[in-house]
């Protein structure tokens, strides 16, 4: 069964189905969405079951020729439909499946135009899955771009008062990032050959099935020494080939020998930074983060959940898979600057969170701070750091989903998100308070919950690293103090003391209903996830270990 393709195309078909259904069948749309995202959870479970943890390379590969275009002296253009999974993408696929289902259930009472809403939501689900399983750069880029459209609508149509500003800002920001990714993608494409198809084109073998290690060496040798006819070169977007330096054309734009330079800077280094910026917008990394608080504040609750829970992770995934994966030289050369950016993001995000009065903005900035740890882990170029970075993404996905759901609960009741509009919420809403406390403590890194492990291992990676100076990690540790400060201060201001709510200041018989059954259904499993991951970190590490070890091999210091 083509599990990975189903993972992508089931939601896309679901989107089409919802769009074609008769009008005003709200509950039907909902149930279709639940069924489809639920099916994705089951599919991801099957993928998890079939995944071989000991293997390092890509698994469950599905490949189909898509576009093949002879381009004369420029060689042959080949774009494949290629999907597969490894230890880095699998945890993120699992996370996405769960968060997307949570998002649907929390969309139950979405206001108006529900047909369009659920259709777009399913479209978003499919494109997100596509991003995590695509192994062809072109295919990835397609999903990456098409993800923006539903997201743009979901914020722009169902968002808060300043939704249009926020959505266009989100769109343009990410688009600007994608243009940079696009440029590098084309550069890579022109610089990399597909050794198998090239061997066939050059007449070394008859069919791709005849490929042997010997032929591979031969074709790569001929490439290196310019013995291949340019017209027979088959260019490719396949990441597997892009990740291998032997497939790069000498004297090409992004040749691994770095012959090409622009304004005195090696084109490879420029490409590294362009890609980095493209994905850093998504994560986000300070100073490319200002779209995030606006998008979160204006987005409806489920969209915030998806945004923080899944979309940001595409940035971190891109770092590992694309930026560092294809340009290990850049990652090693600029480790100090990148680590410095990570420390800046952690501390800057934390200090900003401390100053917020809007609960959602506070959580948005805390996301910025927590994503800084992902960059720290990746930049450290250690097994601890990279494993920790993937773990931190999963952990933050679960916890931020929980945090934004909790914010939504309060907003639903009072339409007010200001922290100073509340005091003593523990009295009328003890369950809400308890789950908020769980989410806050888990997020500030209480051992036993997932947040701790992610921070621990990224920080450990920071110290282990031969690339990062010690002060970067020491500064990053301040982030865990700041996290305690802004979360506990919020807890103290909103939940302790005598009950007082600004929106009902005159109302002496105020009743704020505690969590409903549906809200508990969403929050408690997430809390349990955070606890399970925290108690058994090997649930994630056993998946990532082998892949990360192979990934690390590029950075072994000679």
């Amino acid at each position: 069964m083509p599990l990975l393709s189903l993972l992508i195309f089931l939601p896309l078909a679901g989107a089409l189905l919802v769009a074609l259904l008769p009008r005003n069948q709200i509950s039907l749309y909902r149930w279709v969405a639940v069924a489809v995202t639920g099916a994705d959870v089951v599919l991801s479970g099957l993928i998890y079951a079939q995944f071989d943890r000991a293997k390092a390379g890509y698994q469950l590969l599905e490949q189909a020729d898509w576009i093949t275009l002879p381009m004369g002296s420029l060689g042959v253009a080949s774009i494949d439909y290629l999907v597969g999974i490894d230890g880095i993408s699998l945890p993120l696929v699992l996370l996405s499946a769960v968060v997307m289902l949570v998002g649907v259930v929390s969309s139950w009472n979405i206001n108006g135009r529900s047909q369009a809403y659920f259709a777009l939501y399913l479209l978003l689900t499919g494109t997100i899955m596509g991003c995590f399983v695509a192994l062809d750069f072109f295919l990835f880029f397609l999903f990456f771009e098409f993800m923006l459209l539903p997201m743009y609508f979901l914020i722009g149509l169902w968002g808060g008062p300043r939704r249009e500003y926020a959505s266009i800002k989100f769109f343009l920001y990410t688009l600007a990032g994608s243009v940079l990714i696009l440029l590098v993608m084309i550069g890579l494409y022109l610089s990399v050959m597909d050794p198998v198809s090239t061997a066939v084109a050059a007449g070394l073998i008859d069919t791709p099935g005849d490929m042997t290690a010997e032929v591979l060496r031969a074709v790569q040798f001929q490439l290196l020494h310019g013995q291949l006819n340019p017209a027979q070169l088959v260019h490719t977007f396949d990441w597997r080939y892009m990740a291998n330096g032997a497939n790069y054309l000498p004297n090409s734009f992004l040749s691994i020998f770095g012959e090409v330079s622009i304004g005195g800077v090696s084109s490879r280094m420029l490409a590294f930074w362009a890609l980095f910026i493209g994905f850093a917008v998504k994560l986000p990394i300070v100073p490319l983060h200002t779209w995030l608080p606006d998008a979160h504040v204006e987005a409806p609750t489920p969209v915030s959940v998806v945004l923080a829970g899944v979309l940001l992770k595409i940035g971190g995934y891109g770092f590992i898979r694309v930026v560092w994966g294809l340009f290990p030289d850049g990652g090693a050369q600029y480790a100090t600057v990148l680590g410095g950016l990570a420390a800046l993001t952690i501390v800057y995000g934390g200090l900003n969170a401390l100053a917020q009065n809007d609960l959602k903005k506070m959580i948005a900035y805390s996301s910025v701070s927590h994503m800084g740890f992902v960059l720290l882990g990746v930049a450290s170029l250690t097994a601890e750091g990279v494993n920790g970075a993937v773990y931190q993404m999963v952990s933050h996905g679960v916890l931020s989903a929980m945090l934004f759901l909790l914010t939504g609960v309060l907003y639903d009741r009072t339409h007010d998100r200001r922290i100073d509009s509340y005091r003593g919420l523990l009295t009328p809403m003890p369950r809400y308070a308890a789950l908020t406390a769980v989410a806050f403590f888990a997020s500030l890194g209480l051992p036993g919950f997932s947040g701790f492990v992610g921070e621990l291992f990224t920080l450990m990676g920071g110290y282990q690293s031969t690339y990062l100076p010690g002060w970067i990690t020491a500064v990053s540790v301040l982030g865990i103090i700041l996290a305690a400060a802004y979360f506990l201060w919020t807890l103290q201001r909103m939940f302790f003391g005598e009950i007082w709510v600004r929106a009902h200041a005159d109302d002496t018989t105020l009743t704020l209903p505690d969590l409903t059954a549906r809200e508990r259904l969403l929050l408690i499993p997430l809390a349990v996830f955070a606890l399970l991951l925290g108690l058994f970190p090997n649930l994630i590490f056993s998946l990532t270990n082998s892949t990360v070890a192979q990934w690390m091999a590029k950075f072994v210091v000679e």
């Binding site: 459209l149 743009y152 769109f171 110290y463």
Partner: protein, 604 residues
């Protein structure tokens, strides 16, 4: 041992009984284990594994953990019994017992932990329990503030502690308790965990505020056991501390002993006196650790747990009887509360170091060790034992003053006649007072050097102190006690009294030096983020819009007859820009789709 988080539906006292029963079983097990073979038992299993690296979940049972198992269970049992009466009628009593169980479980985790990482995990959990219990009466803003403050101050120490663990891992390749000294900086990072948890200078100001919690909680967490976790940590990492690091530990302990003692002098709240006394006594233990006297410090931990828990529980009885914590409103209570009075006197005397009581013995061991340590070094090192002796004077003074204010003299108000609490509260207090007598710890009333405690701990004992030490410290206690009794209360506006009352203005200093600047910085960055970083982005956006308008204008006026396609594109861009102000989403999307399609076309 387990965590019995049951719901409020069952009546409070039933829950209390359940909690007591589970702790009693735990105590029984602890005592059984303590008599087990003196070998150290290890238990470990894989927790996190990387290629070639492993972070095991590991626990160990050695004399130190046996000692702490008994202390924690013993004090917890008495505190729970006491709480059944003390907390009776509180609507959230179920939660109270659940939090206490959480604490006991986490504390046991600390003492049994087999490596630094596991210890850190339970260390933070204990912090959570402390947070929940300090803020138990969350309606009171002061309690909520105190809970946050306690957790945050601990977080500062813990961040350094975590850093120390990470550096240990980097230096030694493992997170096990090492046997070789690490670099001084790493050792001090680890020590910072103790500084916060055991309220050492300069992170001591959370402990007096923690008194906002229910008094039995103060007895268990903030006097007898949790704050002693720092001492347990020091005992575990002692071999990893370099000589320089140990010297810093000794100095910090001495400064804390003096700082706490001085701050206790002129407090007005009965619990705050005891809190600062705890700070001072913990300083004594830390100084003991710093001077290489691990066994002595642990001995003092044990005796202190008994008499200080006794003092807190007795203070709780007083508060229960007079409904205030202000000592100025007390006085003359020795007649109304004879049992509490008797217990208080015994425990206070033990704390002050009166001979025949346990505090005298353990304090002697630490002083003798410090004196021996200083003798090895000479010079300024002598300041450590001198400082510790001076802190003993302060202890005698403030305890005598407290006894005078609470139990002697005449009662300030006569509205209600206070009366003793029930046996459930009286029993634990009296038992703790009995346990504060020296005979249980050493048959020789004037020296603990042949105490079976040291044999049990399997730790070296430092040589006995000089012959003059015991008489001198007795004289010091007598003089201090006399002073405390005779001293007239100074006006609360005298500089000395104010400095003591505000514990050397530490909190004010932190407010001015750290909290205000950080909040200012946060607000500044918030504005900068909004105006500068985001302003730049918006400015870029507006600039592009302007440019597009100009382009559209030029296109319309200047190049009217030119290629239609170019014109259309410009109109499209112009519309895109207009929508930023007008907000026409449809146009946007059309444009966005167009842009994406264009890009696709371009790539292909």
């Amino acid at each position: 041992m387990g965590i019995g988080a049951l719901r409020n539906r069952i009546s409070g006292s039933v829950l209390g009984v359940l909690a007591v029963a589970s702790t009693a079983i735990g105590l029984f097990l602890a005592l059984t284990l303590a008599r087990l073979s003196p070998q150290t038992l290890h238990w470990q299993t894989d927790w996190i594994t990387f290629r070639g690296q492993s972070f095991p979940l590991s626990f160990q049972l050695d004399p130190l953990s046996k000692l702490m198992l008994v202390v924690v269970h013993g004090v917890a049992l008495l505190v729970q019994l006491y709480s059944i009466d003390y907390m009776r009628g509180d609507a959230r009593i179920g939660r109270y017992f659940a939090y206490l169980q959480l604490f006991v479980g986490a504390m046991l985790g600390i003492v049994l932990a087999g490596n630094l990482l596991i210890l850190y995990g339970f260390w933070e959990l204990v912090g959570l329990a402390s947070y929940l219990l300090i803020g138990f009466w969350y309606h009171r803003p002061s309690a909520a503030r105190a809970a946050t403050k306690a957790f945050l101050m601990n977080r500062i120490g813990d961040a350094a502690f975590l850093l120390g663990i990470l550096l240990t891992y980097v230096q030694t390749g493992s997170v096990a308790f090492g046997t070789e000294p690490l670099t001084t900086a790493v050792g001090l990072c680890l020590f910072m965990g103790c500084v916060a948890k055991s309220a050492q200078f300069p992170l001591l100001t959370w402990l007096p505020d923690a008194m906002e919690g229910p008094t039995p909680v103060s007895a268990l967490l903030h006097a007898a056991t949790m704050v002693a976790a720092g001492i347990v940590l020091l005992a575990r990492i002692h071999p990893m501390l370099s000589p320089d690091a140990l010297t810093v530990v000794a100095v910090v302990g001495t400064v804390t002993a003096l700082w706490g003692g001085f701050s206790a002098l002129f407090q007005l709240d009965i619990k705050r006196v005891l809190a600062f006394s705890t700070v001072s006594q913990l300083g004594l233990m830390v100084a003991g650790m710093g001077t290489g006297n691990v066994s002595g410090a642990l001995f003092h931990l044990l005796t202190h747990a008994c008499f200080k828990a006794g003092l807190f529980l007795a203070a709780g009885s007083v508060i229960h009887a007079v409904h205030t914590q202000d000592m100025r409103a007390m006085g003359g209570l020795r007649k109304a509360l004879p049992y509490t009075f008797a217990a208080y006197v015994v425990c206070a005397a033990a704390l002050a170091g009166v001979p025949l009581l346990s505090g005298f013995l353990s304090k002697e061991v630490i002083l003798a060790g410090a004196y021996w340590w200083a003798g090895q070094r000479g010079g300024w090192a002598m300041l450590v034992p001198v400082g510790l002796l001076l802190s003993s004077v302060l202890t005698a003074v403030y305890m005598a003053r407290q006894l005078r204010l609470v139990f002697w003299g005449e009662r300030a108000t006569t509205e209600t006649i206070p009366h003793e609490s029930g046996w459930l509260m009286r029993g634990p207090v009296l038992l703790l007072a009995v346990l504060s007598v020296g005979i249980w710890f050493s048959l020789d009333p004037l020296s603990a050097h042949h105490s079976p405690f040291f044999a049990f701990m399997q730790l070296p004992v430092l040589p006995e102190g000089p012959a003059w030490l015991a008489p001198v410290s007795m004289a010091i206690v007598a003089a201090g006690g006399w002073l405390g009794f005779r001293l007239r209360e100074p006006a609360m506006n005298s500089k000395l009294a104010l400095a003591s009352f505000h514990y050397g203005y530490l909190d004010q200093l932190y407010q001015a030096l750290f909290i205000n600047p950080i909040r200012k910085l946060a607000n500044f960055l918030h504005r900068a983020d909004h105006r500068a970083v985001d302003g730049l982005v918006n400015g870029l956006g507006i600039g592009t819009v302007l440019l597009a308008h100009i382009a559209a204008f030029v296109d319309r006026v200047g190049v009217d007859g030119l290629v239609n396609g170019a014109g259309r594109l410009a109109v499209g861009v112009g519309q895109l820009t207009r929508s930023v102000q007008g907000g026409r989403v449809q146009t946007y999307i059309a444009t966005a789709v167009a842009v994406v399609l264009f890009l696709l076309w371009w790539i292909l």
